[in-house]
Structures are given as C-alpha cells and as structure tokens.
C-alpha cells in the first residue's frame, strides 16, 4: 500500500516538474518573440523617418547626392529584407545604419541645416530610433541567450527536444567597424 503512494507521489512530482519546465520554455520563447516585435517596430520607424530626413536635408546639401543615394538605396534594401529571417535582416539593417551614420557626419558641414528646427526634430527622432534599435537588439539578444540556454541545458533540453522548442538566432551587428562611432577625415 505504502509503495503505491510513494509511486503516485513521485509521478505527481515529475508531472509538476515537467509542467513548470514546459511553462518556463514557453515564457522564454514568448519573450524572444515579443523582443523581436520590439525591434521590428523600431526598424519600421526608421524606414519611415528616412524619406522625411532626405527630403528636408536635400535642399541644403546640394553636393551630397552620393550620400543620399546610398542612404535611400540601403533603406530600400532593408525594407525588402523585412520578414526574410533574422540573419538577412540584421545584415541589411547594419548597412543602413552605417549609411545613415555617414550622412549624419556630413551634416556637420552644413550649419544652415543644423539651425533648421524641422531638421533638429528629425535628427532627435533618428538618433533616438537608432538608440532604440540598439536597446531592443540588446534585450532581444539577452532573451535569446536565456531561451537558448534553457533549450540546451539539462534537464530542460529533454522537454525542449520533445516539444520542438528550437534555439533562436541572435541579432548580430554584421561588421565590427560598424559598432564604432564613424570617424571624420579632413583630407
């Protein structure tokens, strides 16, 4: 009689442990998805801001057609990459980031533009959107690390394998030089 109770007890404890592992995995996976949605919102915001910025700055910066074209091109490529997976999208967005950084460096040579209220507001928006992309990427990668650890470590990896929880991809900054602040050369 006693043995039966012990076995029932062990089974119940095992079930509870499995349920909480499963719930933990779901929670972490939802956090990853949620974090990705946050990045998406900010990337979309950046795509929307760029035409405005180019339109405002064009009138002042008549000699910088190449820079504008690079930004517009990178933006269109990035927009096309939406929904093609984390790897491809992070690459396209990384290129857009560096094109934008080059544009904002050139802006320093146009004091008239820097006095334009409209442009200043846009610049604040763009700076902040860049920051938000960075912070949401940071949070996303944190969440992915946590989720991946859970799917790969014992004993939760058994549950993850059974229920089809796959590891997520990190949102990487493509090239090392893009992480550093752009340098101005006076040659």
């Amino acid at each position: 009689m006693n043995a039966v109770y012990i076995i029932i007890g062990i089974v119940v404890i095992l079930l509870i442990m499995m349920a909480s592992t499963y719930n933990g995995l779901v929670r972490l996976r939802n956090r990853v998805r949620n974090a990705w949605a946050q990045i998406d919102v900010q990337l979309k915001r950046r795509h929307d801001l760029i035409p405005n910025l180019v339109e405002t700055a064009k009138g002042y910066m008549t000699h910088e057609r190449g820079t504008f074209e690079a930004v517009t091109k990178a933006r269109n490529l990035a927009q096309k990459a939406v929904g093609t997976g984390v790897g491809a999208q992070s690459k396209a967005e990384g290129e857009l980031s560096s094109a934008l950084a080059r544009l904002l460096v050139v802006v320093e040579n146009y004091p008239d533009l820097k006095a334009n209220q409209n442009f200043l507001a846009l610049q604040e928006e763009l700076t902040s959107t860049e920051n938000k992309i960075g912070f949401s990427r940071q949070y996303y990668n944190d969440s992915v690390l946590r989720y991946n650890n859970k799917t790969q470590m014992f004993p939760s990896n058994m549950m993850a394998g059974m229920m089809g929880f796959k590891a997520s991809e990190f949102f990487e900054v493509t090239a090392a030089e893009e992480r550093e602040a752009p340098k101005v050369s006076f040659s």
């Binding site: 507001a121 604040e124 902040s128 949070y139």
Partner: protein
C-alpha cells in the same frame, strides 16, 4: 536579470517580515497592557495598518505626484525626455510606457512611482533636464526604470506603511501611558498579577522605544540596497555606467533641496532630496548610500556592464566583503561589454549646448503653465499669460504690435 530580482526580493521580504513581526509584537504587548488582551492589541495594530495600506494602494501615486506638484507631459511637449524614457523602457523589457511628469524645481532630482510596472510614472525636475546631457539623463532614467522593473516602489511603500504604523502606534502608546499614569494609574483594582503587570509594562516600554528605531533601520537598509541594485540595473540597461556616474556627480554638486519632497517620499528619489552639504551621509540612518561611493563603484566597472561587473566593482570599493547582488543572479548571465564613449567633441557637435537646453526647458515650463508663445518679427519670443484679455501685445524689444 529576472532571477536576480526574485532572489533579492526574497531577502527583502525577510526584512519586511521582520518589520511586520515587530509591529505585531508591539501590538500584542500594548494590547496586553492597555486592554488586558494581546489579541485586541494585535487587531488594532492590523486595522491601522490596513487603513494606511488602502489609502496608499488607491491613492499613493496620486498623492505623491500631487504633493510634488508634478505636471504630466505628452510626447510632443518634450520629445527628448520621452524618447529617453522609451529607450530605457525597451532596454529593460518593461511592457508599458510609464507616464512622465515634470516638477518645476531647479533642484536636480528624479523619482519613480507606481505599484506595479504596468502603472508606473517617472518624474524629473526641470533643473535636471537643464543640467544633464543625453547620456547622463539616460543613466538617471535607467535608474528610475530599474526601480519600476524591480518593483521597488511596491516594496518601499510596504515598508513605509509598516514603519508608519509602528511609529503611530508607539506615539499613541507613549501618550496614553503618560496620561494614565498622571491620572493615578488604571486598573489598580485588579490586584494579584502585579509582578506580571510590571513585566508587561517594562516590555511594552522597551518596545515602544526600540521598535520605531529598529523599524527605521530596517527600512533604511532595504532602501540603500535597492539603490545599489537600481544603479547596477541602470548600468546594465545603458551599457554605459559613466553616464550615471557623471550625472550623480552633477547631482552631488548641487545641494538645493527638492521643495516638495517629504520624508516618506525620499527613498523614491535618485538621491536623497534632503541632504546637506558638508555633512557626510551617515551609514545607518540614510535612505541612500553616499553618492561619492555610488560614483566610485560605477567608475570601477572596467570589465563590462553586467551585474557581475557591478558586484565586483562594489567589492573592490568596499575592499572585499559581501557584494550587493545575489550570487544566483550573477551566475546566469553572460558577459556584457561596455559601450564605448562618444568623443567629447563629437558629442558637443551633435547635442544641444547648455544655453539651448536651458531655453528649451524654460519654454517647456511656460508651455505647461498654459502660456502661449508668439515669435515676434524681430526674433523675440513673447510669452502670453493665459489670462490676458487684450487681443494685441506690444513687443518690448522692437515695439511692433503682435496679435495674440
């Protein structure tokens, strides 16, 4: 990050439970002495506590914000602040955007409020907006968001209410004791338990004196711990501890007290709103750790921005001993690299100078007070008070007449 909050909560909950036990013990002995029933005393203590809780639960945020005369702002009122708060919200993974308030006060300070992370508010003084650059403001806001995310507001108001109940109870008990002994002692008829009476009285008096002091010390200990924790979280969110360090330096340099702060709201501010110059923050009776120490810890974070890095910096500043962050939290997370500093010259180019910032903030304050702004043809900005009746205003600078 999440484990850390939880395990620190456990430690804090133990301290809160200690305070609660103190309250019940006091209620019991006072009840035994005054009402002849320990249970009665406990019930009275619980009723006082419950009433204070109810008031704080439903009105706490509003009372605090109203007391500080804080004005709520929208995104368009001051996009830079709104953006910074949103950046930190994203970095911390907080789901709902907190409300943002501005306190019209030249002192430099900020606080967070809101019982649960989904109904939080952050308030900053206008002086803070004027004096801090973007990185510094980001560090301060990160600290406040950390208070929200770590549920410090809830914890500190629970503690504050317990402390308040203990203080109220011992205050009344002292007075009742005084008056009852003036009127020749009560219950002299109940002879017999004279010895026991005396012991109860003695314990009661000791509790009345010591309980408020002990509760206060516990309260301060919890508060200081949460400050360190919020600093470490801010460094983790921003990846740039120097921002908060340099903000704290500016905050330390200005000693104007926040006019609208009071003792109970003090732990919610980023630095103690009442500190005086020249007086070293005493160790046990302060809601905040000494600012210089907080700065030194942040600046010692050479290896990275993770909680583990903060912890080792803390230990380095304290020359060994225990850290502030529980080991379980430090173990789980990966390495976190610091964000490189933007060169000073480049930042000065990209950002508003002190003068522009001051002008911007003062324009905001006029706007929040319902003043209209008209730009005269000569470039002067005219501030029109909301009560002005006449339709035309003469520019004091060039004499042109402007329509309102």
């Amino acid at each position: 990050m999440w484990e850390q909050i939880r395990s620190n909560q456990i430690r804090s909950v133990i301290l809160v439970a200690g305070m609660a036990a103190l309250l019940l013990l006091m209620g019991y002995f006072l009840g035994l002495y005054f009402l002849d029933s320990g249970t009665g005393g406990v019930i009275i203590a619980l009723i006082i506590w419950a009433v204070m809780n109810l008031v704080a639960f439903f009105q706490g945020d509003n009372i605090l914000l109203a007391l500080s005369k804080a004005r709520k702002i929208k995104r368009d009122d001051y996009p830079r602040l709104y953006n910074i708060v949103e950046e930190m919200r994203i970095a911390s993974g907080l789901e709902r955007m907190p409300d943002i308030y501005i306190i019209d006060d030249p002192a430099l300070n900020a606080f967070a409020t809101g019982r649960d992370p989904n109904r939080a508010a952050i308030a900053v003084t206008s002086g803070l907006l004027q004096k801090l650059n973007r990185d510094e403001l980001q560090g301060v806001i990160g600290h406040e968001i950390a208070h929200v995310n770590n549920r410090d507001v809830l914890l500190m108001s629970l503690c504050g209410i317990l402390l308040g109940t203990i203080v109220i109870l011992s205050w009344y008990a002292t007075h009742m004791l005084f008056f009852s002994s003036m009127s020749g002692g009560r219950r002299s008829s109940s002879s017999g338990g004279g010895q026991a009476q005396l012991i109860i009285l003695a314990v009661g008096i000791i509790l009345m004196i010591l309980a408020p002091i002990a509760a206060q010390l516990i309260y301060f200990a919890i508060s200081r711990k949460r400050e360190y924790l919020a600093d470490s979280s801010s460094a983790l969110y921003t990846r740039y501890p120097e921002g908060l360090a340099s903000a704290l330096e500016k905050l330390a340099a200005s000693t104007a007290p926040v006019k609208s702060a009071n003792q109970s709201s003090a732990p919610m501010y980023i630095i103690n709103p009442f500190r005086k110059k020249g007086r070293a923050a005493s160790d046990l009776s302060s809601t905040h750790p000494p600012i210089s120490e907080r700065i030194r810890i942040l600046r010692s974070m050479a290896g990275g921005a993770s909680l583990a890095d903060y912890d080792s910096a803390f230990r380095q500043v304290h020359k060994g001993g225990r850290g502030v962050i529980s080991p379980s939290a430090v173990a789980g997370a990966g390495a976190v690299s610091l964000r490189p500093a933007v060169p000073e010259a480049a930042r000065r180019e990209a950002e508003l100078g002190k003068v522009e910032r001051t002008r911007e903030v003062s324009d905001l304050m006029w706007h929040l007070n319902n003043y209209k702004t008209i730009t005269c043809a000569c470039g002067t900005k005219l501030k029109i008070p909301p009560k002005l009746k006449s339709a035309n205003v003469k520019c004091p600078h060039c004499g042109r007449v402007n329509r309102v």
